[in-house]
């Protein structure tokens, strides 16, 4: 896989392409873009059949090992990699160790190992084991394993450990990557940590760049442990980090941002030349029953909030689509009232319809960003998106984003349990066989 910059705007924002995929040579993925977050190898709540109704061309899937490790025996038996095993053979895959947006217990590190919190409990994973797994996953993009789940307020000692462990692990990943015949078609991404402390951050960047010739890109970690809120203050600080780290990197490296960032933070990262994001934000919104309704036209004033909570009683008789004019299947065929009913009755179709809209709309956010970069109007677009977010956060002030975070910080299993507790129509299993409900 190759990354190439196609166009640089007047600022640092840029349009690039990912090409040269071994299994689909004609596919071009334009950046900046977001991958689609997966759970157990499937795009959250969507089967291959439904996914093909949302995207007609191959997409980049974001596959955390932490929520897909249980696939290992099957993948090994089949030997054709994670995408094929998960029924999505045409899709392209970026594998990472954690789902950055899912809070996990702190600590539990061992010398050269990182804890992954899987469906079967804690698994300690070393760089060696991680690279063994990569030969099984066979992804297009590998994010090197790192100890990067630290918040911006993390203590000095913890940051030192994080940096030290990450450097050692990257050395192992690079060594294994170069030696592996099976990973010839995969691209390796190094991870920068300790980004909340400028001095340590520089050390991390310096170390990653010692492998510059091997790496296709660099990912940014060390800015969240998935617990804290992305409030206005954090947004300011993050903007500075995007800039300083971005400026310190050679232009030709793909720049990856992990974490559940809202569109205002995403446009700030794009402004500083960051290219690829994980798709955890729309997934979190969907799990909470929220929909993204950004207005993408900077010349049209917007008074509508850019996130709606469809659990709200106010949508009970609202027979309009989630977003007027949206081209997604959810908006073309269903109403807010119907989705509210599905949420209210805890029906699984709610998550499907919400995911379809949120994934489509999130993709549009990037599509419009690329158009504005191409037209040299990105600043205007950025302001337009940021303003909508500020307006959305104001009324609930402190708990604007927090609301979403706490509501939706359930992990997959709890979420599934909640969804499977099929409310009122459940009857004892004894009656199921001949059930006549």
């Amino acid at each position: 896989m190759r990354f190439a910059i196609k166009q640089v705007s007047c600022g640092s924002e840029r349009i690039g392409t990912l090409t040269g995929f071994f299994k689909s040579p004609s596919t071009v993925i334009e950046t900046p873009t977001a991958a689609l977050l997966t759970q157990g190898g499937s795009v959250s709540h969507l089967t291959a059949e439904v996914l093909s109704k949302v995207f007609t061309t191959p997409q980049l899937l974001w596959v955390p090992v932490s929520n897909s490790l249980q696939l290992e025996p099957g993948m090994r038996a089949q030997g054709q990699g994670v995408a094929k095993f998960c029924g999505l053979p045409e899709q392209l895959v970026c594998v990472t160790s954690h789902n950055m947006s899912e809070p996990t217990p702190p600590g539990h590190f061992e010398l050269e190992k990182v804890p992954l919190w899987t469906k079967n409990g804690k698994k300690m994973v070393s760089a060696e084991r991680y690279m063994d797994l990569m030969e099984v996953y066979k992804p297009e993009i590998i994010l090197a394993i790192a100890d990067g789940r630290t918040s911006l307020n993390e203590g000095y000692k913890r940051i030192l450990k994080s940096l030290d462990r990450t450097c050692n692990m990257l050395d192992t990943c690079v060594y294994r990557y170069k030696a592996s015949k099976k990973l010839k078609e995969s691209a390796l991404i190094g991870v920068v940590v300790a980004t909340g402390m400028p001095k340590k951050s520089n050390e991390s960047i310096k170390h990653v760049l010692t492998h510059k010739d091997t790496l296709t890109g660099v990912a940014l970690a060390g800015v969240t442990d998935a617990y804290e809120e992305s409030d206005i203050l954090a947004a300011q600080k993050l903007g500075d980090i995007f800039k300083t780290v971005g400026d310190a990197l050679p232009k030709d490296l793909l720049r990856v941002v992990e974490g559940c960032w809202n569109p205002a933070i995403i446009v700030a990262a794009i402004e500083h030349g960051w290219d690829l994001f994980d798709g955890s934000y729309p997934a979190k919104l969907s799990n909470a029953g929220h929909v993204l309704t950004l207005n993408f036209d900077p010349d049209r004033l917007s008074y509508e909030p850019c996130v709606l909570d469809l659990n709200d009683e106010r949508y009970k008789e609202d027979f309009t689509p989630v977003l007027e004019g949206c081209e997604c299947l959810t908006c073309k065929k269903h109403t807010r009232a119907y989705i509210r009913h599905l949420l209210n009755t805890r029906e699984m179709l709610s998550s499907v319809l919400l995911s379809i809209h949120n994934l489509h709309h999130f993709d549009q956010l990037f599509r419009h960003a690329r158009q504005h970069i191409a037209a040299n109007t990105f600043q205007k677009y950025k302001k337009h998106i940021t303003k909508q977010y500020e307006a959305y956060n104001l009324p609930h002030s402190a708990n604007g984003v927090t609301d979403v975070k706490t509501d939706i910080s359930m992990n997959g299993t709890e979420y599934m349990k909640k969804r499977l507790r099929v409310s009122d129509d459940e009857i004892p299993t004894s009656q199921v066989v001949n059930g006549s409900l």
């Binding site: 009970k316 065929k333 599905l342």
Partner: protein, 394 residues
């Protein structure tokens, strides 16, 4: 019959020349349904995680909604404003709703049945609610399904008190008259009476004969599939289909196991519904020719076959048993995938039966089916007896 026949017309295309099976076409306001048909149950206005588009791809022509649930949530106000359930859920094909009576008895311990109706405590706010035949029809008129059910007096199938069963059977007939009188949309919706009488031959006969005198477009056979022995079950189906007019469709409520479908089609039933295929999917069970696969079992961990090699559903085309094993009961996607397959299995079975009836090969189809279904060749007595009663020998 003039006005009512607009809401339903039933044409028998071919009858089996051995058994009572028949293939037909039931024209409903929203869709023309090929019978015999299996109707998946979408309790609350949705089919367990599947899009209406997916149901269409699976060739579902009619699905079921539950009046009790829909009357509570979203409620009749919302449904009326939405222009009925079809609009509300984005489903353009046919719908059938039950009367709500069954849920009241099965879910609510506090239900009290009187001549007026079923009195029960609301599970939401503890207030007392009375579901009368008139109220049931009023709600079903709001929902707007193509076929709606009369409110019947439901007694547990295995209940033995003759007087109570007699009372329920006769009351069901009286409630039918009240339902028909209350019906506001006879040109768009057909009320089906429900043949009651549980396992009592005389009462069931009386119920069926009484319903036959009414001006209705089809009949339901109720009070079965509630835990009774199979040896008690099939004679009641046979008795009912033997009395009911053959020019109108017959709907056997709550039946959906593959072997039951095959036997009851042979006995002359045209329509079935059951939560079983989608519910068992949520527990990780997939339907196959010789029964079920429980995908939670470790033996599937590295099994790279599809659920069923002969199935052409989107699940079997894209996914292995090994993958489903690794996400089953953890990811919602696993539910969706197995539900798709299980519905495809039911649809495919019905399609095979229709085609074999039309081709005059239904008896052979049944013989082959039974042989494959019981791969240990131990055929239950009820299967052998029920099929031989209509001339199919296993």
């Amino acid at each position: 019959m003039g006005a009512k026949s607009l809401a339903l017309s039933f044409q028998i295309k071919q009858e089996c020349n051995v058994s009572r099976a028949r293939a037909g076409l039931m024209k409903l306001p929203h869709y023309e349904v090929k019978t015999p048909v299996f109707m998946p149950v979408g309790t609350q206005g949705t089919m367990k995680g599947l899009l209406p588009d997916q149901l269409e791809s699976l060739d579902c022509e009619i699905i079921l909604g539950n009046t009790y649930h829909l009357g509570n949530r979203p409620g009749t106000d919302v449904l009326t404003k939405a222009g009925g359930l079809h609009n509300f859920m984005g489903w353009n094909r046919a719908l059938l709703t039950d009367s709500g009576g069954f849920q009241m008895v099965s879910l609510l311990k506090l239900a009290e049945i009187t001549e007026e109706g079923v009195k029960f405590k609301s599970p939401y706010d503890d207030s007392e609610i009375m579901l009368t035949p008139e109220k049931s029809i009023e709600i079903q008129n709001c929902i707007g399904a193509d076929i709606i059910m009369q409110l019947d007096d439901v007694v547990q199938t295995t209940f033995q008190d003759y007087d109570r069963i007699k009372e329920a059977t006769e009351r069901t007939s009286r409630w039918l008259d009240r339902c028909l009188a209350a019906h506001q949309r006879p040109t768009e919706q057909s009320i089906f009476p429900i043949v009651q009488g549980l396992l009592n031959k005389d009462l069931r006969e009386q119920s069926a004969k009484e319903h036959m005198t009414k001006d209705v477009n089809g009949f339901a056979i109720g009070g079965l599939s509630g835990g009774e022995a199979k040896d008690d079950f099939w004679p009641m189906v046979s008795l009912s289909t033997g009395i009911l007019d053959k020019h109108r469709p017959r709907y056997l409520m709550g039946v959906g196991l593959a072997i039951d479908l095959v036997v009851c089609v042979a006995l002359g039933v045209d329509m079935f519904d059951c939560v079983f295929p989608t519910r068992t999917a949520r527990f990780g069970c997939a339907l196959v020719a010789n029964g079920q696969l429980n995908l939670k079992q470790k033996i599937y961990e590295t099994d790279l076959d599809p659920l069923d090699k002969n199935c052409s559903c989107s699940t079997c085309k894209n996914y292995t048993r090994a993958y489903l094993h690794s996400i089953v009961t953890v990811e919602t996607v696993a539910c969706h995938l197995i539900s798709v397959h299980n519905i495809a299995y039911q649809m495919n079975l019905m399609k095979n039966m229709r085609e074999n009836i039309e081709n005059g090969t239904f008896p052979q189809f049944v013989q082959n089916f039974v042989r494959e279904y019981y791969d240990d060749c131990e055929y239950p007595t009820w299967v052998v007896e029920s099929l031989s009663s209509v001339g199919i020998n296993i």
